[in-house]
Subunit: 482 residues, 2 copies
Amino acid sequence: MEQSELYAGKQRQSTIYEAVQMRIREGEWKQHDKLPSVRAMAERMQVHRLTVLKAYQQLADEGILYAKYKSGYFVGPLEDFETGVSSEQSWTYQAKPVYVNQSRLSDIHRHSVDYQMAEALIDPQLLPNAYMSNYVKEVFDLYPRVLSTYSSVMGDLELREAMAQFYLDKYGVSVDAAELMITTGSQQAIDLISRALVKPGDKVLIERPTYSPAIDAFLQHRIQLFAVEITPSGYDMAEIEAIMKQERPRLFYMNPTFQNPTGYTVPVHQRKQLIELAERYDCLLVEDDVYQDIYFGSPPPPPFFYYDTEGYVIYIRSFSKYVAPGLRISILAARPSVMSSIVPVKALSDNGTPLLNQKIFQHYFFSSRLQEHVVKLRTALDIRRAKMEQMLAGGWRFDSPNGGLNLWVQVPQSLSVEELLHRSLAQSMAFVPGSICDPLGGMKDRLRLSYSYMNESKLTEGIQRLVTLADELMNDKNGQVG
Amino acid sequence: MEQSELYAGKQRQSTIYEAVQMRIREGEWKQHDKLPSVRAMAERMQVHRLTVLKAYQQLADEGILYAKYKSGYFVGPLEDFETGVSSEQSWTYQAKPVYVNQSRLSDIHRHSVDYQMAEALIDPQLLPNAYMSNYVKEVFDLYPRVLSTYSSVMGDLELREAMAQFYLDKYGVSVDAAELMITTGSQQAIDLISRALVKPGDKVLIERPTYSPAIDAFLQHRIQLFAVEITPSGYDMAEIEAIMKQERPRLFYMNPTFQNPTGYTVPVHQRKQLIELAERYDCLLVEDDVYQDIYFGSPPPPPFFYYDTEGYVIYIRSFSKYVAPGLRISILAARPSVMSSIVPVKALSDNGTPLLNQKIFQHYFFSSRLQEHVVKLRTALDIRRAKMEQMLAGGWRFDSPNGGLNLWVQVPQSLSVEELLHRSLAQSMAFVPGSICDPLGGMKDRLRLSYSYMNESKLTEGIQRLVTLADELMNDKNGQVG
């Protein structure tokens, strides 16, 4: 009986929850409008006040409402998804109720296409496969029992010690093996950080646009996301400071070097300044560094990790993307206080990355052959980048990136990216629509084209088809209008 | 100003939260006691009523309080951890506030010891390492680009198709490749299931005792855990039905074949009956099947998966434990409606298990050599089991297992397992204390000894030392008393 009363209470609560949502969605209640008081709403809906309060609180937890102390509940600053323009400020907050995780990026990747411009992956033909195979055979001679042994949760000690030495030699950063964890790709590192370090209701800063699976990873915890724009000259530092000061975000997820998807790089002076802000406002900086070694001109500035003395930077470094992507090896560095929260989540997730993959990675990564390979790889990728840029004449706008694997493109105004994607997939072409890289769901006139996966002739063909298709779509539209 | 008021409100809320917890902990407020009303508490603590309500609700969310509709808040049925005996029923509910995950098992595994009885792992010397190395080399000849390629999120299609065929041939179960997912070990499968299928507040059934990382995996979501005892004759089916009927748990996590840690096997008639209950009460059965092939006498009954026609069983099968544990390959089978919830979480977690590991596993698993290996392995493990049992004379009690890697032991009454563990680790011996396998935190007179990792002479030595240490501890104690 009690059980069914509780159940009925829950039913009523969700009725109110939905009624409020509907009125906001339909525009009856607008941003910052005050809601009826709990008492008034309870009378109107003929339910107990506690039921109304719970529904309001659930909506507040989800960022749809906000509570003012002693004043009641108000409609939150919701984003206008249709125009992609924030209705208040560029970092207007947004929190989606996400229990069932979604991944639009992997939905797109599920399509097997002839013209692959959606995968920021390096063409297997550019990797020294035969050479790697030989290396693997050596690993088995060196570690005959590598397949019979588990790695420790944090990863193989030998590899972690080698990486600690590498960070010291390369950046002069002193890091202990106990501050390094081996993860199954950067994706896992982001997921572990989100699970270990944020709680429902926390505030998280993120770039706009950004790596879309990171949006998914943080939103799974029902946090509030604050987006800061990244441009060719970096961040708006005053905006970041304002948000840090006012909102006290728990962490800032950044991809500051040849950013995915834009290719932009945050300049040195902002790196130093942001470290100071992080310390002042107690905000962790999660630096996802994937393309550090994939530069076309001069090398990028050192990572944030290099400037960090107080332990505010969590550094995710992926090497395997250009060493042997199939290995899925990334390295996460964090100071002990932070690492101690991440280790149990890694144990829960998979008990440690497979040892075999770590051993192969280590032996290949520290070979002289790898350095030769990377030099050649940069040149090959730069040629593909130039080819893609050359083919995208006309109304397609972009900033030429100095590194990375992607071109971030603004399409002609009259072109619908969603429609282009739909039609492209039907013609066996894939790219990433800009909107899924935008934590605010806007940027509907952008797309990300990866130039790394196809060889030159395929790339030329692919872009030609894409541009032709776009022209057709725009002509159709103009035809309809005229 | 508003910000700081909100902050102060939060502070006051947590003060009340802590005050309530303290009174419960210290026994001032007992189980099912009614708390002061929100109004009374607000007056007493000189805070706003909303602040009290929020604190109460937070405590209710964490299972420390419960709300009765229109009556107020009551102290929840908390477990008496000291005695390990439930204060109400054997399956008394328990919900811990777990945000920061913990893993006591991996804490124990972090110790590198000479006498390893805590790891349910097969001695690398029992695995055909040289032969596996050759297989790996063949894989590289067959798939020269395996290191340059990502797996799909669900896993390599070739392997999934081969496994679908295997299930059909071996159990006559028809399963499509789209219903199979390759995971990085069973640990990841459990974590994915917990993340995809349970929400905070859900109810989950679990065996008592059970595989302790599964407890951690489910409790991370702030669910309510209901424990059902597993004995040499299986489950108490009436108890399971009562819980399913009354509580409507979302799923039942089971390890029904040579169970870890007990070695018990649920009989066929209960398998059939439980499938019916699952259908009737809409409860998913998560069958973790690790030791199916590690039997000493006759093979165990077919898995629950075999009896399932309506898609209620999620089947986690681990083969790599005895094929090549370092590969970390498990296979998760679920019907499409369930699988569709798990796929996005897998994408978020690591975007797919490394392809190399899948290819190596497949080529070795389907070799005739593997079958010969498994037959020998069973014999070798059975000898070690018999040796361990023989050494554990005197007051140590256990049921001899018919399969698996573990002995579940009840120690003499006067022995403290915690103290034994503490002293064992100091003497470079490790085992798993029973209490961490018990979702109710009891079973303090039990421990799990794995006989799979050490060779016979090491095992003999290890158990001898353990028994000697135990005798010393008991004599010390008796000495003190006498």
